[in-house]
Symmetry: D2
Subunit: 317 residues, 4 copies
C-alpha cells in the first residue's frame, strides 16, 4: 500500500515518522465526494452559483457608483511564494517607417501569472493525491503545457454580492497574529457585530489585517499568516459561497496548527467542494470605509487550461 | 532637423522616397496637444471619464442580469501580430509531504501579455517620434524593464455605458471587406438605424465582423482588416468616449488607405487624445442578441509600468 | 498490477489495445542494469571515458589546425520538436550616464535550451517508467526547477577521437529514406569502406543525410527520420563509445519500425547504458571533406540540474 | 551638437554636472577607428586571429591531456548584475504511450544567456553612443528580437594559446583589493616573474583573485571589483590578443577610478578595437596548478544575432 501511495502523482516525499495520533482532518475518500452535486462532468464548481439573479442582487447594492479596488499592483515589490516571479522586459522601441513616425513599445512578461499578486485559484491547481475537484485525475488532464479539464477559462466573470467579514476589527486589532487561526466563533461574532448574515452565492471575504505587511515585509508575509481554520472554512462553505477570499496568501491559517496537515482548506475548498479561493486581496480601503456589503466584480483571465489567474477585482456600491 | 528627427527614439528606419504628395493626415506638433486637458502631469487620459456617475448610468442599464462575455480565450489558437506569443508550461506537480497528500500545480506563462488576445492598449504603447500622450518622452520614462509613467496600472476598472455600433449589420453583411474603411456616414447611419446617440464617457464598440475569422484564419486575420478610418475615429473622439473598441486587431482599418500612414488612429487616440483602445473583442453574441446598449465592465491587470493588458471584458444588461 | 503500473511516474497513458505479439525489444528490468559499471552513485555514465589518454589520442589527430563546425546556428529557422521554442528579445539599449556615453545591449532568451538546435542529451532527460540511468528515480531527483542528480553540469568537456560513419555515402545516396533503419550491416559496411574500426572512448557520429533538410523543410524534418535501429545502436554501444551522434533529431530511426516502441534507442543509450546522445549535428562539411577521423571537441553548458544542453561542437584535424 | 548627441541611441540620461576637468580617457571619434583593419564589413574583430596556425600552436601545448575547467556552473548561486536572471523550470514528465514506457523530461530556461555565468561578450553588446565596433549603428542593426550584424554566431570556436597573468600572485595576495586598478607595471612584473611574453592571437587571462567570492559574497562581487585599468588594457591590446579575460564580472576595474568614465575598457576592447572579453572566469584551479600557458578552448553558442554567450571554456595541457 505504501508503495502504491508513494508512487502516485508527481514527485512524492515519503512520510516516515511513526504517527502517534491521527491528523485532525483528512480529505474524504474521492468516492465520497464525487460526482459533484453539479454533475460528473462539471468543471465549474461554485461558479455555477453565478446566475442572473446573483447579478441583479449585486446591482441592487450599487447606490452611489463608488468603486473600491481590491487588487494589488503587479510589480517588483510583490511577495512571492517559493520560486515564483513576475518579470517584465520592455523590448526595443520599434519605429515604423511611414511619415507619421509611429513608435511602438511592448514588454514580455514571464510569470506564474495564475499564482502571483492578487490571485484567483482554479480547480486544476490542487489535488488530493492525484484527484482534483470532481475526481478528475492529474495524469489524465495535464497535457503538454496546459490542463485539458478544469482550466480557469471556465470560470467567467463574477458579479455577485460581496461580504466582508472583518475578523481583525471584531478582535479589536489592526492585524491578527502571525499564525492566528480564525474560528467559527470569530466569524459568527464579526457577522453579528456587522449585523449581517451570509447568503448563497456570496463572495465571502475575510479581513485578517495581514495585507498590512504586503509589499513591506515580504519575507514575513509569506512565512506564515493568520487565516481560516478548517472548521471556520467548513462553516462558510456550508452556506454555499461562490468563493472564499482574504488578504493573505492562502486564505487559511498557515502553517496549519496541525503539523500533519498542509493547507487543508485548499483541499476542502478547491478539491472537495469546488469552491474558488481568492488570495492576496487588498482590503485596507474596504475596511476603512466599513464597506461590509457591496457588489463584488471580478474578471479572471481566460487562460486556457490555466490553474489560476491574477486579477483586479473591485467592490462597487 | 531631419538628422535629429532620425536619431530620436529607438530603432529608426529612414524614409528615403521622395514624396509626390502630402499624407492625408499627420499628427499635430506636440506643442499643439500638450499639456493634456487633464493637466500636465496626467497619466490617465480618457479614464478620467470613469466617474461615479458613469457607474450609476451603467448600473441603470442592468435589467435582467444577463452577462455577455466579450473576451476571447487565451490559448494556442490565437492570432498573433508579429513575433508575439502566449506560451504556457505546466511545471511538475509538487506533492506536499504531510498526510493530506496535497498536490500543487502551476504553470509559467511567457507572453507579451499586454498585447495578446482581447487587449487593452495604454499610453506607454505608442508614440509620435519619441513623444507619448501628454508629451511624456520615451527616453525619460522607459526604465529598466518597465515604464515609470503612463503604466497600465493607472487605468483602474471600467464600469460605464457600452454602445455597440453594428457597422457590418448596417451594411447588410456578416463581415466588412478585408480592407474596408469605416466612414463617418457608416457610423451615423448605423447609430440612426439603432436609434441611438453617443454620450460622453461611453465605451464605443464597433462591429466590423472581422472577429468571425479570429482563431480560424489567423494569417488573414492579422494581414489586414476593416476598421475605423481617421475621420470616423476623429468623429467618435469628439464625443468624448472612454475608449474605442472593435473586433479586429487595431480597431482601425489596416493598412491605412494612405500608404504614407502607419496605424494613424493609434496615434490619434492614444497619443494625441489620450483615448484608450480595446482590440480583438469577441462581439458575435452581442451582435446576435442585438445588444446595442449595456453596462460595459472591464478590469485591466495592474501591471506596473505596462503598455497594456489582456482583458476579459463583459457586457451586462 | 495495472494499478501499480498506472501509478508510477508522472503522467501515464494506459495502453489498452490487446497485443497480438510481443514488442521486438523491451528495456531490461532496472535490477538487471543497476548499479552502473561505474558504481551505484555514478552520475556521469560514458563521460567516465573522457580521460587524459582520450585527450592525447585526439590531440595526435590534429595535423593542420583545420576546424570544422558541427553545430547549427540557434535561430528562427530551426526545426522544433513539439512545443519547444527559442525566443530572443532584445531589451532596450541602456545608455550609461558618464561622459564616454557607453550604450549597453542584451537580450533575454527563453527556450528549452537543453533540447533545441544541435543538442546534447543528459541522463535526467529520459526514463524507463520512473527509472533513470543508474536507477535514480524521477520523483527523488526532480526538485523545484531542476534535477538534483544526473544534471548536465556533470558532463564536462569532451576532447576525444571522433569517428564519422558515413552511412548515406555507403548506400550511395545524399540522404537516406524518411524512415530508413540503419542496420549493423550498414555500419560494418561503411566502416570497412572507410578502412576504420571503432575504439573505446570514440564519439561515434552517423551521417544519414537528414541534416540536408534542417532549416529548409522543418515540418518534414521533425515528422520522421532515418537513423539507428536498436540492433545497430547496441552494436556501437558494445564498443564503449563516449557518445552517439547524428544529423537527425533523435539519432535513431523514428518512428521505430516496431509501433510498440517509442524511441527505444534513447532508453538503450541514456537509461540502460549511460551513453550520451548528440542530435541535430551539422555534418555536411565533414562529409564533403571526407573527414572520417578527427579530434572531436564539445563543451556542454554547465546548467545545474539540466537535462541537456545546446552545443557548438567541432571537429579538428 | 550636445543636443544631437543626447538624442542619439536608446534611453539617454543627461549629464548635467559642470565638469571641472576633462575625463582621463575618451573614446576616439568613430571616424578615427573605422573602418576596422579587417575591412569595412568585418563583423568578427579579433576572431580573425583564430587561424589554423593558432590551432597548431595550441595543440603543441597539449603534453599530458589534462583538462582544467574555466567555467562556472550555471545555477542559483550565481551573482547577477542588475536585473538579470537564470531561471529553470522543469516541465511535467511526459510519459509516452508505447510499451517501453519512455518518460521524457525537459526544462525551460529563461535568462539573459549571453550575460550570465562565465560569459563571452560580442560586439553587439556595447557602443559608443550609437556606434558599435566597425561603426555599425545600433538603430540599423537592432532588428525585432536580434541583431542583424555583429551577432555572436559569427565568433566560432576558439583554439589558441592561453596565457594566465597571475597579477594577484605577483602582488603576493590571494585577492586584489575591491577596487584595485591593475597597471602596466603589474602586467609586466607578473609576466616577467612567470618568464613569459605575450604573442599575437593569445587568449590573455588576468587573475585578480576576485573569483574567490563568486557564489559566496555575491552582493560584494557585483558591487565593485579589481581589474584592468585603461592603460593596462591598452598595453595588452597592442599585442593583438584574441580576447581579454578575467575572474571578475567586467574584466576591468569597476568602478573606474575616473568617475567620469563608465567601464571604458569595454569600449576600448569591444567597440574601438574589436577585441572580445571573457568575464566571470573560474581560475582557481589554473592558478593553484601554476598553469600559465596552455591550449585555450572555447565554444560560444551560435545564438543568431546575440550579444554574447555563456560558455564553458577549458585549459588543456
Amino acid at each position: 500500500m505504501k508503495t502504491v501511495a508513494a508512487a502516485l502523482g508527481g514527485s512524492l516525499l515519503f512520510a516516515t515518522a511513526a504517527l502517534a495520533q491521527a491528523p485532525t482532518w483528512s480529505p474524504p475518500d474521492p468516492s465520497q465526494r464525487c460526482p459533484s452535486k453539479w454533475g460528473p462532468n462539471d468543471e465549474r464548481g461554485s461558479m455555477n452559483r453565478q446566475t442572473a439573479a446573483a447579478v441583479m442582487n449585486a446591482a441592487k447594492l450599487i447606490k452611489t457608483g463608488e468603486v473600491i479596488e481590491l487588487g494589488h499592483v503587479l510589480g517588483d515589490k510583490m511577495p512571492f511564494f517559493g520560486t515564483r516571479r513576475f518579470d517584465v522586459h520592455i523590448k526595443r522601441t520599434f519605429m515604423n517607417q511611414p511619415s507619421n513616425r509611429r513608435g511602438s513599445n511592448e514588454e514580455i512578461v514571464i510569470s506564474e501569472i495564475g499564482q502571483v499578486g492578487t490571485q484567483f485559484d482554479g480547480f486544476a491547481h490542487q489535488t488530493h493525491r492525484n484527484s482534483h475537484y470532481n475526481c478528475f485525475k492529474t495524469e489524465e488532464i495535464a497535457g503538454r503545457g496546459l490542463f485539458t479539464k478544469l482550466g480557469i477559462q471556465n470560470a467567467g466573470a463574477f458579479i455577485t454580492r460581496g461580504v466582508l467579514i472583518d475578523v481583525a476589527g471584531f478582535k479589536g486589532v489592526e492585524m491578527l497574529g502571525d499564525n492566528y487561526e480564525v474560528t467559527v466563533d470569530d466569524l459568527e461574532g464579526a457577522l453579528k457585530k456587522q449585523n449581517m448574515t451570509l447568503k448563497a452565492g456570496d463572495a465571502v471575504i475575510v479581513h485578517t489585517g495581514w495585507g498590512k505587511i504586503y509589499g513591506k515585509e515580504n519575507a514575513r508575509y509569506v512565512k506564515s499568516c493568520p487565516g481560516l481554520g478548517v472548521k471556520a472554512a467548513q462553516w462558510i462553505i456550508e452556506k454555499n459561497p461562490i468563493l472564499l477570499g482574504a488578504d493573505n496568501w492562502p486564505v487559511e491559517v498557515a502553517p496549519n496548527p496541525d503539523p500533519q496537515l498542509s493547507l487543508p482548506v485548499h483541499q476542502l475548498a478547491l478539491v472537495v467542494n469546488g469552491v474558488h479561493l481568492l488570495e492576496n486581496m487588498k482590503l485596507d480601503e474596504l475596511v476603512q470605509k466599513q464597506a461590509y456589503e457591496f457588489a463584488f466584480m471580478m474578471q479572471p483571465l481566460k487562460i486556457q487550461g490555466g490553474t489560476g489567474s491574477t486579477v483586479s477585482p473591485i467592490a462597487v456600491r
